[in-house]
Symmetry: C2
Subunit: 338 residues, 2 copies
Amino acid sequence: MAKIRVLNREDIKKVFTLADALKAVEQAYSEKNSGAGEIWPMVFHEFEPGKADLDIKSGNLNGKGIFGFKLVSWHIENSAKNLPTLHGTTMVFDIANGQPKALMNAGPITDYRTGAAGAIGVKYLADKDAKNLLMVGCGALAPFLIAATLLVKPDVQKVVLANPHNPSAAAERLGNIAEKVEKLLKESGAQLSCTITAEEDIETAVRNSNIILTATPSRQPMIKAEWVQKGTHISCVGADLKGKQEIDGALFASARAFADDTAQSFDVGECEIPYLDGVLTAHCGEIGEVINGTVAGRTSAEDITVFDSTGIALQDLASAAQILEAAEEKNIGTVVEL
Amino acid sequence: MAKIRVLNREDIKKVFTLADALKAVEQAYSEKNSGAGEIWPMVFHEFEPGKADLDIKSGNLNGKGIFGFKLVSWHIENSAKNLPTLHGTTMVFDIANGQPKALMNAGPITDYRTGAAGAIGVKYLADKDAKNLLMVGCGALAPFLIAATLLVKPDVQKVVLANPHNPSAAAERLGNIAEKVEKLLKESGAQLSCTITAEEDIETAVRNSNIILTATPSRQPMIKAEWVQKGTHISCVGADLKGKQEIDGALFASARAFADDTAQSFDVGECEIPYLDGVLTAHCGEIGEVINGTVAGRTSAEDITVFDSTGIALQDLASAAQILEAAEEKNIGTVVEL
């Protein structure tokens, strides 16, 4: 019988930081493009349209010696029952013999790996001298994106929060977000050494920034092409379903655009609508190609670069593999016979 | 946090019998055809052709209030490492809120539910006076198929074992198989009350039988159409991959044929080749329709009936749901926070 390690939310928090997530996500992107990582077809089932659905995203990651899946279900009526609307479960298996190795609560992994994804875009595509970061959107992901970006760009001097759909929320959420950013940095052995402020006017905020992160459920572009300064990098994290769009499609006429997964980016990502409109016909490449050095990222200090992060199973698997290694080393979690 | 019950091989043996599997499989077939049960698209991945692969079969079973999956990986080189070549893992989730409920070793479930599947074909399609059972194939599944059939047809008088690809094996394996049949019947509160013998000549064996179960990896038909007596029922369990075939395609010219899943039967089941050859153009129905009374099964004592059991995820899910109910009631297994 195989022994399997079960890791719940608290266990995972003991062994996983944003610094770990950054390493894992970078490896996931790299392996996707080297061929060592593969994404298998997604299973999607709608229990009741607009009320409850589920997906199973799976794949293999040879560099970590594992395969596995993340199953996420969404039940909107759970909130009335005092239950989380999302449940995420990840399992990791040994690629050499098929034995199950771990079962994890995928909830805490998702926020970390998504924050890390936006930051990997910044690490590989932002100008080396970019120091003004704008976070568009003040939801749960904002602190993860900000902190992960500060880890890859420790010389950022200014962080500005904006929330175009409800502008006053940026100032209201500022305290909570700053506190959470400090906590996340501390977990990774770093400190907050720049200012975090709120800005109600999105145009002003965009004009004064050279790194922009977007994480909203927007279905209308919030950022006009003419506001974006030369040399700016934008990591778009919000669009993950058909019809979602955060930035002006016109930006893609001149920007250097990259995706985590080309097909998914055109299908459900930030690039879906510019692609349908014919403004964007092809990406410069996938971020994994930039990481692996097979495609150039930024080519000058003037380039506008965009990273469309749609989310791929390998990010979760690489994170889960890293969590499992650390949990085994520190003997965290519950080991059961399966 | 959700509490999840982990059930290993030994736990499952404490709460699951062939009688339970028969109930579960019958419900699975019935719900598939009433629409209460649905099969989701299968994920299949080949790590190395002919050496290692994997599938994830998933679905929902509303009558049991669950959804879930079975993940089965196959690594042929495991035997040299003293590990099982197959690893099966099942998870069960609450359909009302998406919470994970149980993680199980799927290994022991598969044998029981496959034995039960062949027997459900006998229960609904064999002639009421049929008393002579032939088991073709002497592998691991044989005792499960025989015992499950004896549970649904307690007036069977004679069981004969035959193994056309290696005829002497039937006599060699007889003792072990009879012992295992007795054990399986005992688990379900029944007793062996008929003879079990071996027959080297497959033609003689077929001519003297009116219930036939086949469970071999054959790629050549073993049973000729002219040997099969009027009124016989055949449950074919072996064919689950393209190219496998156990019985003469000519049988389908006059037989009443049924499947667990029509599409899968024509794609990878016993009916694949007769369908490609044009001998069989349509099934009479799925077994769930016979169970639900919407399609007639046997229409006379003269009919030859065939049940093509290809294996569907709902059999595993219904079995897992039943195991979980019993394990919760008896507090078997290990409960962990996820």
